[in-house]
Symmetry: C2
Subunit: 131 residues, 2 copies
DNA sequence: CCGGATCCGATCCGATACTG
DNA sequence: CAGTATCGGATCGGATCCGG
C-alpha cells in the first residue's frame, strides 16, 4: 500500500518523540566536542577550554552542567589550591561516544561532497545565500 | 605524562572543527526526524508533516531545504494537479541514517537513566530548574 | 583555577496569513 | 498539495565583570 511507508515513519518518529528531546540535549552545539574530548579519560576544565577552541567559558560551563545533569559526566572537585576539577564520562556516555565517533567519521568522509553540493545548490538558486 | 590526554583531545577536536559545522546542520532540531522518516523510501511533504508531528510547516520547509542543499535529500516535483513532491535520501544520507539509528537506540535504552539522573540533580541543586 | 551573574545582540522557531 | 512571507516571542551565545 502507498500508506505503508508513511505509517511506518509515523510510528518510528512518534516513538522517537521523547527521544528527540534527549538528542537535542546531547546534540547541542558543543556536547559532541566535549564528549569526544573527554573520551580518553578524566579531563580538567581548562584543558577542555583549550581543547575545543572556539567555545566560551560560559558555554563550556553551561554544557558541562547539562551533561552532568543528564548523567553523562561526573564532576570531581579536588579541594586543593588552586582548585582542580575533573570531568569523567560515565559508562552511558562512553557508549554514546561510539555513536559520535561514527558520526564524526561520516562527516569527515563526506564533508567534501557536502561542500560541493552546497556550492552547486547556491549557484542555481540565486548565488547569494548564507551558510 | 599528564599532558598526553589533553594533547590528544586537542588534536581530535581541532581536526573536528569543520566537522562540527557539518554536524550542526545535520543535528538540527528536526533533521534526525526527517532523515529517519525518509529512510524507508521517498516520502511526500504532507506525509512528513504528519509523521513528525510537532514540526511546523515553516521548519519542515527550512530543514528540507537545508538538507537538500547539503546533498542529503533529493527533491522531485511531479507537475501534476495537485502538485506532488517527493523527498528521497541520497546514498550519503542513508549512511548517515545508520549512525542516527544507533543514536536513537542509545537514547531509547538510556532515557530512563537520564530522567532519573536529572531528577536527582535537580533535587540536590535547588529543586526549581528548567528542562 | 573554576566558575557564577548580567547585559545584549543574533538566531531560532511557532503562529498566522497568503499563493500557484 | 506544497509551499512563501512576515511578525514576535523565546532561546542561544558571546562579552564582560565579579568571586571563592
Amino acid at each position: 500500500m502507498s500508506h505503508s511507508s508513511a505509517r511506518l515513519a509515523t510510528q518510528v518518529v512518534e516513538e522517537g518523540c521523547p527521544i528527540v528531546e534527549v538528542l537535542d540535549h546531547v546534540a547541542g552545539k558543543w556536547s559532541i566536542g566535549i564528549i569526544v574530548a573527554a573520551a580518553q579519560g578524566p579531563i580538567r576544565f581548562t584543558e577542555l577550554e583549550r581543547a575545543i577552541e572556539g567555545i566560551s567559558r560560559r558555554m563550556l560551563t553551561l554544557t558541562l552542567r547539562r551533561l552532568e545533569r543528564d548523567g553523562l559526566l561526573v564532576r570531581t572537585v579536588y579541594p586543593t589550591v588552586p582548585p582542580k576539577v575533573e570531568y569523567t564520562l560515565t559508562d552511558m556516555a562512553r557508549e554514546l561516544h561510539e555513536s559520535f565517533a561514527a558520526l564524526v567519521s561520516w562527516a569527515e568522509r563526506h564533508r567534501g561532497a557536502i561542500a560541493t553540493s552546497r556550492a552547486a545548490y547556491d549557484q542555481e538558486h540565486g548565488g547569494a545565500q548564507a551558510s
